[in-house]
Symmetry: C2
Subunit: 739 residues, 2 copies
């Protein structure tokens, strides 16, 4: 027994030794042949939530406070100083690299010694009224210098005088009404349009097409004051002396007007200003409603059509010109604004990806502001700052994301998305091959009702999943998720039972990344109640009254809504950069395409006899959408069975996902808009802010009514249907099994 | 000692057991965590040589014999039948899949009941001479039906009559000479140009620009007969009754004229014929030298300038019109050729890559021929067939390449590269992301002197290395490599001591892949001695005399030169598809860029005073080339230290290499040529066959002399320099370390 026992012991001992050596062998074997992925440095879902919870409302508050003390107009010393500050702080936070990247772009500033204004002159030419040269500064900011007065950037210079015509919002349909229904010509007139509904540059373009020799833009109280709210500083409405700055370009995605298509570097060829992209040929100037009341109060001509009356106690007569008593007085514009090639600075910070450094996930938002940028853009910049700080903190704990993250603080967004577009042009070749997604970070708040998301359909699901993990900041939603409050407050209604997500148009820095390069993009912010709050933008938009105090007192005193936006923006970035399998959902894209095809087909059906006469069929488009839908479904089924331990197979599937959005890009661009190349989405030709689906078909259909040659016009519709069908079909093909 | 010995034994036994278990553990550990690459199925360098040696001259002979018995004009039943035969044989050889892929493109055929010809008519309109309607068929082919008579595909219909003007080769400089130096206008005339020097479509374009109402193309003996050689069938010279078919389009890469930019599928929108791309507006017709002698023998007007005299015993007077005795006779063209949308078929065969199935290496060449295609294209098609057979044979032995190989038998190349371009358009989105390289396989022989290679500079080194491993087929080079005979026969001379490699232009199916999509491309064939053999093409090019017997009797009786070409084309494909690290060499690209920059700068220096006046500088271009050069050098140094066991790192470096050529693509295209998008190379605007470097700058400089506004013209030169500098710089940036 002793022997037996001893034998067992010895056997056991031998087993232990052998097992130990086996283990050592196994371990050495394992590490001698390591898989190259570095999962141990990636975050679990749980840790990724912790990263979101690392973000703090108080930090966002402090960054907003710090960044909004002075004006940061693009091209100024003060904005360069802020760039350097951000560069330093991002480095301190722990990014791998942070660089200033500059371009020399065309900017536009008022003449410092010869201010812009509008006057009413009598028959002797004497000025009997002049618009104000400045906005009354808000309390506490009286001694701040370098506050640029309200102006329309890139306005032509000039001193046109003539009769006014009131053109409502200056939309395509407003000019149609004037010209076609009311028989009023704007040729040789100065038109006056109220701000709102559409991008101001579209108003200017329409005025030029109508033959106007100048255009005045004014903020009407009905569009820039919420009912029952005081004007700033007692509330958040626009004071009568406030006015909206803004550029009046029609760039269509060209970036710097003098270097369309190419980065505005030292050596880059520059067009002469006359050949520049998108520069208006007539003077433009913005005014507040106090001044507008003076200009409009004696208007003659026809009474305004229904819906054209604003909130001032005046007739809103159309003109041209004043009522008889004043018909010898004219309106004169005095515009001396100068265009000037000026250096701008982007701040570009990077975290090198651990496993796929050549895959880029980008969070970008602008830094430049018209004045203090209290909301626009600094709520966005403060949010990005907190995202960067949180990422840096986790890196110090050993985290390194699978893919590279790029943080960008863009310059000169207000002058036509210049900083972001030039960088996109500079890096187009690399971005095309390597960019996974772009998340935009402009103003993080424009109301305090609920979340607003615009994104490519393939991001819908990740947005929904993420918002389910984020706390709702809304009153009455304690313990509920952001998804829940958002869903309850802004359901997609008839379309589907989920929070509403909108199409991307333009008006912010994602444009070059999405519309030109075809990089999956999205944006998120807090917004107002679109059903009840009918004013445009937020009332003090682009005025001197956009201050830190505006946000702190009225928009988000707890900074919890900004925190929620930070968690959405940051959460998307971390998810996209860190998950082994990219979280795109192409079934959502398929569903969106179906909706868009239905919608453009309905529109076409308003011309049913012509569809028959000219043999216009949408069959190819519907067939392509069907093919895409099946390809997407199959793709996601195959994806479920992917061998996640096979790095090359994983990369291949991720590449298919990354490049899907790229497949919607047509290198030939949309007709007349070479830098809008996405066949599914474009900024509307009638309002840059709005996203249009199947824009090629839409625009061709829009032209039908004015076309002299109906057959030719319908041929163009057919051509555009064919291009859309091809593109959708080809995009679906990229999702089918490789080879 | 016994004990000791026993102890040692036991210790040794234990050690063996432990070691064995360690080994078992190690092995299990290793395989429990396998690297995902599949090297075991790839070929060693040695095996890859065996694959080349698997190819047999005799097989190529048989394929050529088999494929050239009947005409295979694009769009005909006979060519579809050949497509199906190839499909079946490729499947039998062992490819994973072989599909027919069809498109419906615009083709052009003579009217079967109303033949084309040219006549001389007297003042009564009586035809006193008519050109022949057919070529006399070669012996043995007298009873073959469906031989299309010589015609200019896509000629306009019409019966213009008038005076002839002899325009030499119809080159830009020839028309300049006529118009500027000799004061001869071609407006309203019928011009007659000899074939040779440039692509016939350029001659037609020039004639149209000069105002001609018709153009006759003829083969002059000096250009289509080698001295001392008999005409076919006693030698390989063009008989007097032979004529050169060919399309006369100016597509500039558009593919199917009715669907530029998009694949010609069933649902695709088609332009009306009048709006089609590249279709000539005047009648065009080709004739042989027997007929040409009749038309030209009584020409009046000025004597020909130096170099304009051809090989016929006539004056070669310029005209317009005939000498006085005949000045009432006119020339009349009778052209009834029809354009017709016709179905064409590509054969697409695939071998799925083992490790990177989403990386494509393409070997493509056309199958359609004007008549028997004895040289063009069937020497190429036979070579591809043998490459496919060899690959299939090795697959049956267990080989599967790392990357996917695609073999393509294109249709309708002769009608404007239609099959290859439509497939490129159909698959553009996928090819852009996944295509590693395209090797072209048109005619494999055009002479029997030495090898000729045109390729992107980054393929130079792999071409050199490969040809060092292939036996020279040349007489007197037994035991020497193809590289050695090539080097000795066609050294790069003053430029460098290596075999000459030329720029890619166009004129064959690589065009869409290289010039539009930016996929690294190359072509190889056997050629004549360019220093001594001054005739154009090979004499019987595109005539009925291109038969199997022509090749077997005169060009390559042993079929060893065709075998060498097969080994070069196939060897490139196998190397590109199977090597772990792609064999591109960007130091070669850097060197080429430097040469091209020097060359365009020299050209500019012919206008030295203007360079000064208009402040034209090439500094940015030279600086960009310098940056590219350094980036390329650094890249190759880093590549040497790459951890080849890290699959993701390997993929990343390979991706940088794959996308380098893509980085030279400008989505905006070259001015007026949206489908030529490569900034470094384009087909010359004056001769599609020739490759032009920095074509944007070149063309802008070319326009200087004619420009009315010199300042504006030089501005365009500056703009083009800037675009080239940007592109070269940005391409270099893609090679720098990621992030």
């Amino acid at each position: 027994m002793g022997y037996k026992s001893s034998g067992r012991c010895r056997l056991f001992g031998l087993f232990v030794i052998v097992a130990a050596f086996f283990l050592v062998g196994f371990i050495i074997g394992w590490f001698a042949n390591p898989p190259e992925d570095e999962p141990e440095r990636r975050l679990s879902d749980n840790d990724r939530m912790k990263l979101l919870n690392e973000m703090k409302a108080e930090n966002i508050r402090q960054y907003l406070r710090n960044f909004t003390k002075l004006p940061h107009l693009a091209g100024t010393e003060q904005n360069l100083r802020l760039a350097k500050q951000i560069q330093k702080e991002w480095k301190d936070f722990g990014l791998d690299s942070v660089d200033l990247v500059h371009y020399d772009v065309l900017l536009s500033y008022p003449n410092e010694t010869n201010p812009n204004y509008i006057s009413i002159i009598n028959e002797q030419g004497t000025e009997i009224f002049k618009t104000s040269l400045l906005e009354p500064p808000p309390a506490g900011y009286e001694n701040v210098s370098n506050v640029v007065p309200p102006y329309s950037a890139f306005s032509a210079k000039g001193e046109p005088e003539g009769d006014l015509v009131y053109v409502n919002y200056g939309r395509t349909e407003d000019f149609f009404k004037l010209e076609r229904e009311m028989n009023i010509s704007c040729t040789g007139k100065i038109v006056i349009a109220r701000y709102g509904k559409i991008f101001r540059g579209n108003k200017v373009k329409n005025a030029i097409l109508a033959g106007a020799k100048g255009i005045i833009l004014f903020s009407d109280p009905v569009d820039y004051c919420a009912p029952g709210v005081e004007v700033y500083p007692d509330g958040w409405n626009l004071p009568g002396g406030g006015a909206q700055r803004g550029n009046v370009l029609n760039l269509n995605g060209a970036g710097d007007p003098l270097t369309p298509g190419y980065p505005a570097k030292e050596y880059t060829y520059r067009y002469k200003a006359d050949d520049g992209a998108g520069l208006p040929k007539i003077p433009v100037h913005p005014i507040g409603y106090n001044d507008a009341k003076h200009l409009l109060s004696n208007m003659g001509g026809q009474a305004p059509p229904e819906g054209w009356k604003g909130g001032l106690n005046i007739s809103y007569n159309i003109g041209p010109g004043f009522i008889e008593t004043f018909n010898t007085t004219k309106v004169k514009m005095h515009i001396y604004t100068n265009n000037k090639v000026t250096r701008i600075y982007n701040v570009i910070g990077k975290i090198r990806g651990a496993t796929e450094p050549d895959r880029y996930v980008i969070l970008g938002g602008h830094r430049d502001s018209w004045v203090f940028g209290g909301i626009d853009p600094t709520t966005g910049a403060a949010v990005v700052h907190e995202v960067v700080r949180s990422a840096g903190k986790y890196m110090k704990k050993g985290w390194r994301p699978r893919r590279t993250i790029i943080f960008a603080s863009w310059d000169a967004e207000e002058f036509g998305l210049l900083g972001s577009t030039e960088w996109a042009e500079d890096n187009a070749k690399i971005l095309q091959e390597r960019a996974v997604a772009y998340i935009n970070a402009d103003s993080a708040i424009e109301g305090n009702y609920t979340l607003r998301v615009d994104c490519t359909p393939s991001l819908n699901t990740v947005v929904y999943n993420l918002t389910k993990k984020i706390d709702s900041p809304d009153e009455g939603y304690h313990g509920k998720s952001l998804y829940e409050s958002w869903h309850q407050k802004d359901n997609w209604t008839t379309y589907r039972d989920a929070p509403r997500i909108s199409k991307l148009g333009s008006g912010s820095d994602f444009e070059a990344y999405f519309q030109r390069l075809g990089i999956a993009s999205g944006r998120a912010r807090y917004t107002k109640n679109r059903k009840t709050e009918k004013y445009s933008n937020y009332p003090v938009y682009h005025s001197v009254y956009e201050t830190f105090e505006l946000v702190e007192k009225f928009y988000d005193p707890s900074f919890k809504q900004l925190l929620a936006v930070a968690q959405v923006r940051g959460g998307l970035i971390f998810e996209l950069a860190d998950s082994a399998l990219l979280p795109f959902d192409f079934n959502e894209y398929a569903e969106a395409l179906r909706t868009y095809a239905d919608s453009i087909f309905s529109l076409a059906n308003k011309h049913k006899p012509s569809l028959h006469t000219f043999e216009v069929s949408f069959d190819s488009l519907f067939s392509a959408v069907k093919n895409f839908t099946e390809a997407a479904q199959d793709f996601h089924v195959r994806k479920k069975h992917l061998d996640m331990s096979n790095p090359m197979a994983l990369r291949m599937v991720n590449d298919q996902m990354m490049y899907l959005e790229r497949a919607f890009i047509d290198p030939l661009g949309l007709p007349g808009r070479p830098f809008y190349r996405h066949i599914i989405f474009a900024p509307s030709s009638h309002n840059k802010y709005a996203g249009e689906s199947f824009p090629g078909i839409y625009d061709a259909m829009f032209d039908i009514e004015n076309a002299k040659d109906q057959s030719k016009a319908w041929e163009e519709v057919k051509r555009q249907i064919s291009i859309a069908a091809f593109t959708v079909h080809a995009a679906g093909m990229t999702l089918t099994e490789v080879v």
